[in-house]
């Protein structure tokens, strides 16, 4: 009968993987001690630790040893396994970095089974709220929790609810903004797909608090599975009377419909989103009036983001005070980030506000996939900015990220290593915003386009040094004179890369050089004659016949013909093609 499981994994970032070797040695030790029947040794694929050398995890005791050497095997077996003694010099005492609140049920429950949700305290909050709480008390609990909108702007949720409650006009609406569109961000999708009932419960609590009778999910059509899961959950809720008249035998009646977004990024902006639900062209409108006073069809409306709403049942179930214990002074609770880019473990992490960015990148996500240095981390999607390597100590919350020239945004986090060109990155985000500008307002529409033209010129080696001043000038006018957040924040990636990586821009402009080797137009492929063995492989493989010469004289690349495809470098067996 197996009593313990020992898991083994080499977590060192460099060097060959020694897991298998160590496993064999450990197994030998177990064998010697005649413990084969009691101890199961397993090679793990991942134990959630990075840069800790060889990690040994012993279950069910949940003992974790790190930086274990081959010489430690004997004493681990003797002391820990046979005598239950902990080896203090090896023990890794690390509290879990992640705290799952919004994602508490994701990956845990069956999203298609309402009973499974109820088993995990689902609808506990709602039944308390409907039967025992006044709407004011609900708002009060939200206030205590300090929950701020997770969609990007970070406006206190309770204030939105209170303002909407105070509006006299009826009916009122609750909208769940599930038009997640930042490149690389998919927190909301995961919650929609993995825990649909908690968002519905959140909306219901919001509706009860503000006095709304109707709700809308605004989900982008590119999320078919999310739409399907929400739709099934809504049907189920209606079936069991969790939506409809007199919910849970209370006086509260509420129903929810789904509206699909057709893929316009700007429709995530609340006024544009409402226009879209109304069947109009999705363009933003000036605020005030704020939606809480005059929103959907001119009626008071609360628009909350998916993640915000997923937090609501937790707060009402376990108390606002409990929620407020997590996080920092100004930013309470947790935040879900979608970490992507050049990262080892891309995926979703949910961390308490105020965690050092470094811990997310290295401790949770295992650093870069290439093993190279992190050059910068882009947060807040196309509306955000970059945080350079030297500032990775920043504690992640709304205010700190803003001070760094970026924003929290909806939670996209894109990790870049030294192979990434910052001008190219700025160009990518700007290109996204130019593509997605609704076209309504001049600074965003034309300003973004002009900036993109300048960035294109710079990456093609045609930049002028005055361009940097022009970039800044247009960026300021976009930030100050655009109507909605999309336009106001669109230049952020440019401003923040200029701020932290101005020398890289200047290299492109003055030296016509891209240190990351990303800007194709600035690359030069040359054949290093000393290394060249005149094998003609490059010559025969060049798709545009830019290489001339013969087996006797050797070969050279005609720069005017070269398209910088890199084929010659790829095929050369003697590393005789240089790329600069």
């Amino acid at each position: 009968m197996v009593k313990r499981i020992v898991l083994i994994k080499d977590t060192a970032a460099t060097g060959p993987d020694t897991t298998r070797d160590f496993y064999n040695r450990f197994l030998d030790g177990i064998r010697e001690h005649k413990l084969l029947d009691e101890i199961m040794v397993v090679r793990a694929a991942d134990l959630g630790y990075y840069g800790h050398g060889l990690v040994v995890k012993i279950m069910p005791n949940n003992i974790v040893y790190h930086n274990v050497q081959n010489t430690d095997i004997e004493r681990i077996i003797k002391s820990t396994i046979e005598k239950n003694q902990i080896l203090d010099d090896l023990i890794l005492n690390e509290k879990p970095k992640q705290i799952k609140v919004a994602l508490r049920n994701c990956g845990l429950i069956d999203p298609e089974n309402i009973n499974d949700y109820i088993a995990h305290d689902g609808y506990k909050a709602l039944s308390n709220v409907l039967l025992e709480f006044t709407p004011e008390k609900v708002i009060d609990e939200l206030k205590k929790s300090g929950l701020r909108g997770r969609g990007g702007a970070g406006y206190p949720t309770w204030m939105k609810w209170k303002a909407c409650r105070a509006s006299r006009s009826n009916p009122k609406y609750i909208i769940c903004n599930a038009d997640e569109g930042d490149p690389g961000a998919y927190m909301d999708r995961s919650i929609l797909e993995g825990d649909p009932y908690s968002i519905i419960e959140g909306m219901m609590i919001a509706a009860y608090a503000v006095g709304a009778s109707k709700g809308y999910f605004y989900i982008r059509a590119e999320y078919p599975l999310a739409v399907q899961r929400i739709d099934e959950a809504l049907t189920k809720c209606r079936e069991v009377g969790l939506l409809g008249e007199n919910i849970l035998d209370s006086k509260f009646s509420f129903d929810i419909d789904i509206r699909l977004g057709a893929g316009a990024f700007v429709c995530g902006e609340e006024t544009a989103l409402m226009a879209s639900i109304e069947g109009k062209r999705g363009t933003p409108h000036p605020r005030p009036p704020y939606p809480t006073g005059s929103g959907l069809w001119g009626q008071p409306t609360v628009i909350n983001n998916v993640e915000t709403l997923a937090n609501v049942p937790y707060i009402l179930c376990y108390g606002g005070d409990n929620f407020a214990k997590i996080g920092t002074n100004s930013s309470k609770g947790t935040k879900v980030f979608a970490v992507t880019g050049k990262i080892k473990n891309s995926g979703l992490v949910e961390v308490p506000m105020g965690i050092p960015l470094k811990e997310i990148i290295y401790d949770i996500c295992g650093g870069t996939i290439s093993g190279k240095d992190v050059k910068a981390v882009q947060t807040g999607g196309p509306s955000g900015g970059v945080i350079p390597n030297k500032n990775l100590d920043v504690l992640v919350d709304y205010d700190n990220l803003q001070k760094m020239g970026s924003i929290m945004g909806s939670g996209g986090m894109i990790v870049m290593d030294t192979d990434d060109c910052m001008v190219d990155i700025a160009k990518f985000y700007l290109g996204f915003c130019v593509e997605e500008s609704c076209g309504k307002c001049a600074p965003c529409r034309i300003g973004g386009f002009q900036i993109l033209q300048i960035l294109n010129r710079i990456t093609e080696g045609k930049g002028k040094i005055e361009d940097l001043a022009t970039l800044k000038r247009i960026a300021v006018s976009m930030q100050k004179a655009s109507l909605c957040g999309l336009g106001q924040n669109a230049p952020n990636p440019v401003v923040s890369t200029l701020n932290y990586f101005e020398e890289e821009y200047k290299e492109h402009i003055i030296n016509k050089r891209c240190r990351a080797g990303k800007c194709v137009a600035l690359l030069t492929y040359t054949i290093i004659q000393e290394k060249c063995k005149k094998c003609a492989l490059c010559f025969t493989n060049c798709p545009v016949k830019a290489i001339s010469g013969n087996r006797e004289t050797g070969y050279k690349i005609d720069q005017s013909l070269c398209t910088k495809c890199g084929k010659c470098k790829e095929v050369c067996k003697f590393k005789a093609v240089s790329k600069e």
Binding site: V2, E112, L131, R189, N345
Partner: protein, 114 residues
Amino acid sequence: MSKFNKDTIIAIHNQETAEQPDYISVGMSACGIAAGAQEVYDVFAKQIKSRNFTIKLRKCGCAGMCYAEPLVEVKANGMPVVTYGRVTEEIAQLILEKHVANSILVNDCVVNIR
């Protein structure tokens, strides 16, 4: 189904938490499905049926470890709950044969244990 009230909710909660059945849970969010979770799920469904396993097969959402999809979580035979990552159809077979049938964990696949 009749209309829920507070008592129904409590009753369902109590009943569901009282049972602690063994299960295989496949991460079936978009990230999982994109990585092949549906095929893995089908292997489990087919094998459980044909080999008369009593273990329950269920779906779940994304656990956040998108880099290791498809993820399969197994609770069986009184052992800790084990999460396997990058599960292929072959590994799914192994999980059934080794872990479920014989309480032996599959090497090089475990990404989490609790």
